[in-house]
């Protein structure tokens, strides 16, 4: 039974994106709106809007009962959760299904299973997908630790079982260092936490974040290649690319095949992403977690494959079997997305809600701007700061970076500070251009930049990665 009427249980740019995909499929759209969002772009575009509660997300976009009630009462037969908010809430998915509606996403049990990190790791191991090597629990003594470290591979991270938030972590590069550090770490952990138990995990100094996009219909799954999102600040991605230029063709094949094995093992339905750490020095990749929803950075995959992921997930969840075969998916060129946020990069990324006084969007081949903005729009202070995503597509990575620099010049969001200048600076950076970054590179780069700004005579600083 194809979906006739879709309830959008989200806001911002992804709500706009879902409305456009639904409209292309001839589906009526009903937009949820909080008290602060009556004038947002998605509300203007949707066929109907339904108020779901006050501005505060816990009383509106995170209110499961209010969302399900609004979807039912507005005559919808399906709910699209977008990303964030209730998108990975298994209870919400179950409530939508219990109300007789389609949840545009995987089965509630799949969300629950893959949302539990330990269980997801066990599923990965059962599917033959590598996970970060480590001990199975606490190691009893130094001799056991030496044997385990040899199996795990150097360098190893020594972590206190009772610790958290990175406290008490040490890195041993070889057996001699482990012999020194293990007793120290154990004593310190006993003093700090009253428990000297330690476990070991492989330490990846310059990990890159790679992730594989999959589509599944509950039985069969395919991959749509990978993205690299190593440029992060406070674990938030700021710049994403497809494909990952750091991979060899063989590594890409192995990585993507592993994601399909895991997606098929869990009977995945809809669009999903498997996140991995990639060690560029050894060429190894390790599964870390699965996101059971559409992701912010999905457009880069759409640009290099030509597949509309949001339409695909709506069609599959509406009951179609996956129409695409793996051979249908071909990589074409390189795409980059940058997140344009209402934050001031020159003031420690201070959030900057306000009114958009003028908006100019660059247009042309290989350019796309997914946004919630229009001139005169008042960006509310109650939700995240993402205003839009500028996406470029070109034959090569170098050409894509050049196209991005040009597109950023043409993008004018007036009325409040945005992260646009940060992206222009990144596009001009030699290390970004060379692609030699890792997940902690950007924070070091920002620190160096802040230090450079405070001493005006200093030449531009390109710090070595932390």
């Amino acid at each position: 039974m194809a979906i006739q009427s879709l309830f959008i249980a989200n806001r911002g740019e992804i709500a706009v994106r879902i409305i456009r995909a639904a409209r292309a499929l001839g589906i009526r759209t009903v937009q949820a709106v909080s008290a602060a969002d009556g004038d947002m772009l998605a509300a203007r575009l949707a066929d109907a809007v339904v108020p779901v509660g006050p501005a505060h997300a816990s009383k509106s976009y995170l209110n499961k009962e209010a969302m399900v009630r609004a979807a039912v009462e507005s005559g919808c037969d399906a709910v699209h959760p977008g990303y964030g908010f209730l998108s990975e809430n298994a209870d919400f998915a179950a409530m939508v299904e219990a109300a007789g509606l389609i949840f545009v996403g995987p089965a509630p049990e799949t969300i629950r299973r893959m949302g539990d990190k330990a269980q997801a790791r066990r599923e990965a191991e059962a599917a033959g997908v590598p996970t970060v090597p480590g001990t199975d629990g606490v190691v009893s003594d130094l001799a056991a630790a030496q044997a385990e470290a040899e199996r795990i591979g150097w360098p190893v991270m020594i972590k206190a079982a009772a610790g958290g938030g990175g406290r008490g972590i040490r890195v041993a590069r070889d057996a001699a260092e482990l012999a020194t550090l293990f007793p120290q770490a154990s004593g310190e952990a006993r003093a700090a936490f009253g428990d000297g138990g330690l476990y070991l995990e492989r330490f990846i100094a310059r990990a890159r974040h790679v992730e594989v996009q999959v589509l599944g219909d509950g039985v069969r799954a395919i991959h749509l290649y990978e993205r690299e999102c190593s440029l992060q600040r406070r674990r938030q991605k700021v710049w994403e690319e497809a494909p990952a230029a750091c991979l060899t063709p063989d590594q890409r094949e192995a990585l993507c095949a592993s994601a399909v094995r895991l997606a098929e093992r869990v009977g995945y339905r809809g669009a999903g992403t498997l996140e991995y750490l990639f060690d560029g020095e050894t060429g190894e990749f390790f599964f870390i977690e699965m996101n059971t929803r559409i992701q912010v950075e999905h457009p880069v995959t759409e640009m290099v494959t030509g597949i509309d992921l949001v339409q695909q997930m709506i069609r599959i969840c509406g009951g179609e079997t996956l129409a695409l075969a793996q051979e249908d998916i071909r990589l074409d060129g390189h795409a980059i997305e940058v997140r344009i946020c209402a934050e001031d990069p020159d003031a420690d990324f201070r959030p900057s809600p306000g009114t958009i006084t003028a908006l100019a969007v660059p247009e042309g081949d290989g350019l796309r701007f997914d946004t919630m903005l229009f001139a005169g729009y008042q960006v509310p202070p109650f939700y995240d700061s993402l205003l839009g995503k500028l996406i470029v597509h070109a034959p090569t990575r170098a050409a894509a970076i050049a196209a991005l620099a040009g597109a950023l010049e043409g993008l004018k969001v007036e009325g409040l500070p945005t992260t646009t200048p940060l992206h222009s600076a990144l596009a001009a950076d030699p290390e970004v251009q060379a692609g030699t970054v890792h997940t902690r590179w950007l924070e070091g780069w920002l620190e160096g930049r802040a230090a450079g700004a405070s001493s005006p005579s200093a030449s531009p600083v390109v710090p070595s990665p932390a």
Binding site: A35, A55, P381, F382
Partner: protein
């Protein structure tokens, strides 16, 4: 004695405590010293404390916990 109305310094969501299970920073009738935290305002997932710039007695709040506030909106009355 004069009662002053203190306004929100920035727009966002007002919180009277640092977490759902935490005690409120201030109740009506409490003494307020300069530098005391009265509440928090969340702007785009980032939290800014509302700090008292004047001492006195907190007479009344104009907003509830988790209310949306605009910059310049009345937050609380202070008997200074």
């Amino acid at each position: 004695m004069t009662v002053k109305t203190i306004q929100a310094p920035l727009p966002g969501t007002f919180y009277r405590a640092s977490g759902p299970d935490e005690p409120v920073f201030k109740s009506e009738g409490d003494a307020v010293a300069i530098g005391d935290t009265i509440g928090l305002i969340e702007v785009m997932k980032s939290f800014t404390p509302v700090i008292a710039e004047e001492a006195g007695t907190l007479v009344a709040f104009h907003v509830e916990n988790e209310d949306a506030v605009m910059a310049g909106q009345a937050l609380y009355d202070l008997d200074a």
